[in-house]
Symmetry: C2
Subunit: 269 residues, 2 copies
């Protein structure tokens, strides 16, 4: 079960930190650029340096699809499973399509890449999520209230006195959690709304992007977002960790940034 | 300009038909299964057999991502551009993510694969569409009212007396069309709603899935969906065309199915 694996990782590493593996070739340190697989080498060093400080890794598929690097994405996920099997992998692809197509996307995430969980977009409704949810051992993380500035254009429209993101939260809690494997994406940039979603979904873990480069407030998020067991959050940082350094010690710098973030978060738990 | 290329293809082939290139390896005819690149060979034969009867080809990315076949996707798109440069290619990936990630997805669709247009999901709002829209020469096709049964769960929620899909249509018309390159996905399974969206967006082309296997009504769609110049629709068929035959003559059968569909559509124009 994905949720069980996540809980164990939270406990073992005493950490709610997720490292976003979003490697942009143009920004990688010189010392990995001449390798045969620079993206994999970069990821591997960061993973080796941070594995005891995190609760998950989240490769963002765009960085691999945009740079013709599916092979390095597969190598990265395989490397995590082989060396740190206790750390779950989130395949961040935000898929959403009709049933027969969603079947193929579920195969991609869970069979081809063997990810522990996948992010999905709920705009097309339940039948487009079902092929993912039916993999009962894997996690499915649906967009609810996203961290970006225009996130409110659709998500905050009011239907029967309630914003769309609350309708999504309600569906997650009441309809999509039949295998106890749904999670939600809730941005750190709108902590008040995160708190409202926590009231609707007291037990569902949230993947929380938007701290660091996007400016979300960690204290405010922790104050309203924790579950009763002082967990329930997977707080992602990508650029703040993977680009913490740019020299030969980039992995050590990423470790320091991860540790700082973990400790900052834990002081509010 | 994508819209200009599409208009020329509509006119040249007197066709509103788009062929969805969604090859499932388990369903391909025996005669291509032993080829080095069975998916490409299958697509190539269908493209050669139908290029004078269609207004576009639409590879659904899931079928390539799910079957480790990015190379054959690239070969397919390159083949269309090299041999039938008048026919635009729609990269059907329904992307949607924050700006920096959307940049990478736009690179994927337009630089890596050199597609003429891409499908996107509007749930995260304008800033997630902008990286695509800024490619002024390419088309961006946003989900509006989708063809699947659960499409209504979010899309038909009512905000200020108006369903969400109408809000999306309004944003497309007033906000997202600054480069005259936006299109909308509007399913054939809900023709009354398609007609409402046409009223909001009199000139924007619609990509229309949902005929064939999904049961949409062609006559009803044409009655309310055409633009003033008797076009404005890109009517997709995937399974009904690509699996029209399963023997050595599968490509000829796909041609016959395409021709029948084109003629059925044209009798209502």
């Amino acid at each position: 079960m994905f949720i069980e694996k996540l809980k164990k990782a939270w406990e073992k590493n005493n950490s709610l930190v997720c490292v976003g593996l979003d490697p942009d070739l143009s920004k990688l340190p010189e010392c990995v650029k001449d390798k045969e697989f620079p993206i994999f080498e970069f990821n591997k060093q960061i993973i080796d340096a941070t594995h005891d400080l995190v609760c998950s890794y989240k490769p963002q598929v765009a960085y691999y699809a945009g740079q013709d690097a599916e092979k390095e994405l597969k190598m990265t996920i395989d490397y995590i499973h082989a060396n740190y099997p206790e750390i779950p992998v989130i395949f961040d692809s935000k898929r959403g399509d009709i049933g027969s197509t969603a079947d193929m996307y579920a195969k991609e995430a869970f069979d081809r890449y063997n990810a522990d969980s996948v992010t999905v977009n709920p705009y097309m409704g339940t039948d487009t999520l079902k092929p993912f949810l039916d993999y009962a051992e894997r996690g499915v993380i649906a967009l609810c209230r996203t961290s970006n500035p225009s996130g409110d254009e659709i998500q905050n429209l009011i239907v029967e006195d309630k914003a769309i993101y609350k309708h999504v939260a309600k569906m997650a809690n009441e309809k999509w959690n039949y295998n106890n494997n749904i999670l939600l994406v809730v941005g750190a940039t709108y902590p008040a709304e995160l708190g409202e979603i926590r009231e609707i979904c007291p037990d569902i873990p949230f993947l929380v992007p938007g701290i660091g480069a996007q400016g979300g407030d960690i204290e405010a998020v922790l104050k309203v977002g924790l579950t009763a067991d002082k967990a329930g959050l997977v707080i992602n940082s990508s650029r703040g960790i993977i680009y913490a350094g740019n020299g030969e010690d980039f992995a050590q710098k990423s470790r320091e940034a991860t540790e700082t973030l973990r400790n900052t978060i834990n002081q509010y738990r």
